[in-house]
């Protein structure tokens, strides 16, 4: 929390305060945005996920934690079917996005609704403007002015506008690592996704850049359901209202973050959180 306070001074201008106060007044029985039941996932003959069931609440931040290779990234990639690029990968079970089966949806439509930010920032070798505009150009026919407005709006939402507004047509690769990752977030936000998946978005960033992105998540969840995979348990505790703990392809426990971190009901969760195994 100290780091967060620092960034407020450093550069998080214009961000509303973290809505912890608001959270208390919100009802707890939330409608699920994504409902997963009995999801089994295979890479060829090797099973990576076993009977995973959970409900991801609408417009909340949900964190997925667990040791490397536990299946949390695989799970994330089933939500927008990014696993399909991998040969012989297949998912079985029911994944519902607002009641619609994700596995039956048109994949292009699905990915317009479920955006993704990757572990390593991956801006296109194009200008900053063209990066953010990419999804808009792919998905909509837009006039020039409309496009420019949408790009500005997305960059503002990603808290990057002030830093890049003078170099919009400069190369995205000239940005720092943290800026590049926020650019990738802006790019994902431009198409107004209902769900935003983040796969360890801060693992290559320093604490200051990390704090900026965490601040950003707070402001985004008002319009967007966020699912973040993280190796950093403090990060899960800082940003997420809900946390799921994966181990060996199984969802061991899923609950409000506070419960997971203070009084987990399963021994493995407690062991992992307190660092007793690794």
């Amino acid at each position: 929390m100290i780091i967060r306070a620092n960034t407020k001074i450093e550069g998080g201008a214009g961000l509303p305060p973290p809505p912890e106060a608001m959270m208390a007044s919100r009802p707890t029985g939330l409608a699920p945005k994504v409902e997963v039941s009995r999801l089994n996932f295979f890479y060829g003959a090797q099973q990576a996920l076993f009977d995973v069931s959970l409900k991801i609440p609408d417009r909340r931040v949900t964190a997925l934690i667990g040791p490397s290779g536990c299946g949390k990234s695989t799970f994330l990639r089933t939500l927008n079917r990014m696993y399909e690029a991998v040969r012989h990968a297949r998912a079985e079970g029911e994944l519902l996005l607002d009641g619609e089966n994700i596995l039956d949806m048109d994949v292009v439509q699905l990915r317009r609704r479920v955006g993704m930010v990757f572990q390593k920032s991956n801006p296109f070798p194009k200008s900053i403007f063209d990066n953010v505009a990419y999804g808009l150009r792919v998905n909509h026919r837009m006039g020039k002015g409309e496009l420019a407005d949408a790009v500005e709006k997305s960059l503002r939402r990603a808290a990057l506008w002030e830093e890049v507004k003078d170099v919009l047509h400069g190369p995205a690769w000239a940005l720092s690592g943290g800026q590049q990752q926020r650019l990738c977030i802006a790019r994902a936000l431009a198409v107004n996704p209902e769900v935003l998946l983040l796969d360890e978005p801060c693992s290559a960033l320093d604490p200051i850049a990390t704090a900026k992105i965490e601040d950003l998540l707070f402001t985004l969840k008002d319009n967007c359901t966020i699912v973040i995979v993280t190796h950093n348990m403090q990060q899960a505790a800082r940003v997420a209202e809900y946390t799921g703990f994966f181990l060996l392809g199984k969802l061991v426990e899923f609950d409000q973050t506070e419960v997971i971190f203070t009084r987990p009901s399963v021994k493995e969760t407690e062991d992992y959180i307190t660092g007793r195994f690794g």
Partner: protein
């Protein structure tokens, strides 16, 4: 360690080092030797007439190779226009769209095509175009050269498309781009400079080919109009003039060699320029 062994190792080191140095020196000096020889023998015959005049009749001194220069240019343009698109699209297919079995097969066949002796390519184009048309033509020569450009372009395209990191493909797909859209708007632009460079090197390579032209575009002592007439070209001119018994023709053959080599070097340098422009752009303007 014994002293003898130490000396032995030192000796081996010296021998191997000298050997490597000698090989490197041989490689480099050959180019300069060729270049120097061409300049020495041919520079004297290069003048304004060489670029603007037609060959003079046998026995008359002077004249130039304007028709061969234009002919070579037309042949290369035609070969590029046919070979590069076909090779490029095939390379894109291999890198991005193929499953597992067919690409392996196509790649293998492309490698075989690359290994076909150029004279055989010439015979093939002869049978395919010259025989039915009943005459030698620029068309036949260009087609023969294009068959040599295709496998090079396929390999270059595939190789550089594969070098584009998968993270960029994922980013585009995750934004709702369809596969062909992702390839067209992200993968190809990201690798276009490199592909262009490799292709230019391939084009420069075939610009000097002689064998496929001997019985396709043949030769012509006059201007070749259109695409369906036999045409002169620099490599075939060199061949013809070099084996002729006239001193003046020998000089012109050397000059043609020099011009051809210079043109190929220029293409090479341009190709590398394009590549370094790309690097400069990446590191910020």
């Amino acid at each position: 360690m014994s002293r003898a062994f130490h000396l032995y190792r030192k000796g081996v080191n010296v021998v191997m080092f000298s050997l490597a140095g000698l090989c490197a020196f041989t490689t480099v000096s050959v180019l300069f030797y060729i270049l120097g020889f061409l300049v020495w023998k041919g520079a004297g015959a290069i003048n304004w007439d060489f670029f603007t005049q037609l060959p003079k009749p046998v026995g008359e001194a002077g004249g130039g190779m304007a028709n061969a220069i234009v002919g070579s240019f037309k042949l290369v343009v035609l070969a590029t226009a046919i070979g590069v698109p076909v090779g490029f699209v095939t390379g894109v297919y291999l890198a991005e769209f193929g499953g597992r079995r067919y690409p392996a097969l196509i790649r293998y066949i492309a490698d075989l095509l690359n290994g076909v002796p150029s004279i055989v390519i010439g015979i093939f184009a002869y049978a395919l175009v010259v025989v039915p048309m009943r005459r030698f033509s620029t068309l036949a020569g260009g087609l023969a050269l294009s068959l040599m450009i295709i496998p090079v372009t396929i390999r270059t395209t595939e190789q550089f498309l594969r070098a584009v990191p998968d993270s960029l493909r994922e980013a585009a797909l995750a934004l709702g781009a369809s596969k062909w859209r992702m390839v067209a708007t992200v993968v190809i632009p990201a690798s276009l400079h490199a592909v262009l460079t490799g292709t230019l090197l391939g084009v420069a390579r075939v610009a000097g080919e002689t064998a496929p032209l001997l019985f396709t575009s043949f030769n012509n002592r006059f201007w070749s109009t259109g695409w369906d007439q036999p045409t002169a070209s620099l490599p075939v001119m060199i061949f013809t003039y070099a084996i002729a018994p006239y001193e003046d023709w020998h000089r012109q053959a050397w000059a043609a060699g020099l011009v051809l080599l210079m043109a190929m070097l220029a293409l090479n340098v341009t190709a590398h320029r394009i590549l370094s422009m790309k690097m400069a752009r990446r590191s910020g303007r």
